[in-house]
């Protein structure tokens, strides 16, 4: 195989891989921020959502401690939630959590493995906040509007 041909094949393969990785997830998929029913708020601002999720605000207005649940950094739903609801790239969230965790000035959020786990952890933990694709009927969590 001549080297020019070989390079062209490599370049094609690389660009296909890159495109597959870089293409944004469909923008129309929705996601819902959910909280434990005892949290006592129905609406928060984007700024507040950012402060709760980065664990810089530790209590809800009614005094209940905040418990944050998140999916893994690479999860498509996590990426979408981070980008569209918080306006932060997932790596920025990770950086804030790590800085707090490894300097002793804060704790890390609790990682869950799936949306199903997210639902039951948020439903069963007072003060919990998390997110799902959509809230199934009969779930004992409350959607939270972020404006």
């Amino acid at each position: 195989m001549n080297s020019v041909h070989w390079w062209r094949q490599c370049a094609t393969a690389a660009s296909v891989l890159l495109l597959a990785q870089l293409s944004a997830p469909p923008a129309l998929l929705a996601q819902e921020v959910i909280v434990h029913p005892g949290v006592g708020v129905t609406t928060i601002t984007t700024n507040e959502a950012r402060l709760y999720l980065t664990l810089r605000l530790k209590t809800w207005p009614n005094g209940v401690p905040v418990k944050v649940f998140v999916l893994p950094d690479g999860d498509p739903l996590h990426r979408r939630f981070s980008n569209t609801v918080l306006g932060l790239f997932p790596y920025q969230l990770r950086r804030v959590w790590d800085r707090q965790l490894f300097s002793g000035t804060g704790q890390a959020p609790t990682a869950v493995a799936s949306e199903a786990e997210m639902l039951w952890r948020v439903a069963s933990t007072p003060g919990a906040i998390g997110y799902v694709e959509s809230v199934p009927a009969g779930a004992s969590v409350r959607p939270l509007e972020v404006r």
Binding site: L18, Q21, L22, I44, N47, E48, R50, L51, R56, L57, K58, T59, P61, G63, P65, V66, K67, P72, D73, G74, R79, L86, G87, L88, F89, P90, Y91, Q92, R95, V96, D98, R99, L101, F102, S103, G104, T105, G106, Q107, A108, T110, A111, A113, S114
Partner: protein, 405 residues
């Protein structure tokens, strides 16, 4: 020493196994440790360093695995206002750091007031100095932009002096429509080790440095546009007293004033991050005796760094940095002449190009490779190098594996 290496290897192996097992949906032991109020986390890294000349953290021309970091931390959220946390760190860096476990930080954080737009509180204990973008977490491989931090600002030859303070810090955060403001102010006693003597006195004399009065530290950060833009100003000032030893010859009981001021700027986009920092390091020596060569200098360092995220799990970093022992003598000619040419001018500056690759194999395991082209030896220590036999132009290549949980 060998024990630490073996321990680190075992920990790496165990954590890698745990990380792989964690890919299945069975909660691992570590996940169960992250309870409601108590969290336990840690990390370990092993780094091989090869240099074409000169020594950096025990590197050799053939390459050596002499740089190891292992840490374990625990935090307990007693109630929403009170947090206890502590971290034990063992860091082995050839002759620079012997790998004994030390208390990296140990503190209580009390939130005095909290609203939906801000908070105000106090931290007491052993606190990491919040200097620049990286000092607080400088020993955590996952939070660094490359295997080694920009050495002209975050000297590894002198990490302890600016690493932490035993004392008290007040902090306040305020979120507004126009951006976030964050302020930290504190004071206490600097945590010192022998490297301070090697760097500021040029050798390990019979006596030792002790903290003299209070060390002050503070920072102010502004971030805007969803934390895409971050601007910071941070500084520390400290006085050290020299206590001569029993054996002569020794220096007189002098004093040394050390300050460091860092300006930071960072812009974060989805696929790239641009970072730059500038530091000024005014030093003053008083009363060390007639033969002591130094009086006053102002060190300076700055860098420009670009990070490109090729994939969410792969990034590339390119950085250029320059550092000078004295900004009024940037080519080191005067400093070298003052010592009769014993130390070459190139030991008083550093110009470094760094290229690095990071690959997060999974959320727990990271691999890294760095190549750095150095001109000058300002950033390396006389503790592991003979200053008269330093090579001006040299290369550094490093490979690192790190795990976390």
């Amino acid at each position: 020493m060998a024990l630490i290496v073996r321990l680190a290897m075992w920990l790496l192996l165990l954590l890698s196994a745990a990380a792989v097992a964690g890919e299945g949906r069975v909660p691992s032991l570590w996940e169960r440790l992250q309870g409601d109020r108590l969290q336990i986390h840690g990390f370990a890294s092993v780094t091989g360093v090869k240099t074409s000349a000169n020594r950096f953290l025990g590197s050799t021309r053939g390459g050596a695995v002499n740089f190891i970091e292992v840490a374990l931390n625990a935090s307990y959220q007693f109630n929403p206002r009170i947090l206890f946390s502590g971290q034990i760190l063992a860091r082995r860096a050839a002759s620079m750091s012997n790998g004994s476990p030390v208390l990296d930080y140990g503190l209580v954080d009390v939130t005095l007031a909290e609203t939906v737009t801000g908070r105000f509180g106090v931290r007491a204990g052993r606190l990491k100095n919040p200097l620049g973008l990286y000092n607080e977490t400088r020993d955590v491989p996952f939070t660094r932009p490359s295997i080694f931090l920009p050495q002209v600002i975050y000297f590894d030859k002198l990490r302890n002096m600016i690493l932490s303070t035993d004392g008290l810090m007040l902090y306040g955060d305020l979120a507004t429509r126009y951006g976030d403001l964050s302020l930290t102010l504190g004071g206490g006693q600097a945590v010192l080790d022998e490297n301070v003597e090697w760097v500021f006195l040029g050798a390990n004399y019979p006596g030792k440095f002790v903290p003299h009065g209070l060390t002050w530290v503070g920072n102010l950060w502004y971030s805007a546009f969803h934390e895409r833009l971050r601007l910071g100003l941070s500084g520390i000032t400290s006085t050290l007293g020299y206590r001569p030893g029993q054996s002569a010859p020794d220096l007189d009981a002098g004093q040394m004033q050390i300050s460091d001021l860092i300006l930071s700027a960072q812009y974060n986009a989805e696929h790239w991050t641009l970072t730059s920092e500038y530091s000024r390091l005014p030093l003053e020596w008083r009363g060390f005796g007639a033969y002591f060569p130094y009086r006053k200098s102002t060190g300076e360092g700055y860098y420009l760094q670009g990070t490109y995220r090729v994939l969410p799990t792969v990034d590339l970093v390119l950085r250029y940095e320059e550092g000078f022992a004295d900004r009024r003598d940037r080519n080191g000619v005067q400093a070298s002449a003052a010592l009769g040419g014993l130390i070459p001018p190139s030991d008083y500056f550093a110009k470094i190009w760094t290229f690095g690759v990071r690959w997060d194999i999974n959320p727990q395991v990271m691999l890294r490779a760095d190549y750095a082209r150095h001109q000058g030896t300002y950033t390396i220590s006389t503790r592991e190098n003979d200053p008269a036999a330093l090579a001006k132009d040299w290369d550094l290549f490093a490979l690192q594996i790190a795990v976390r949980f």
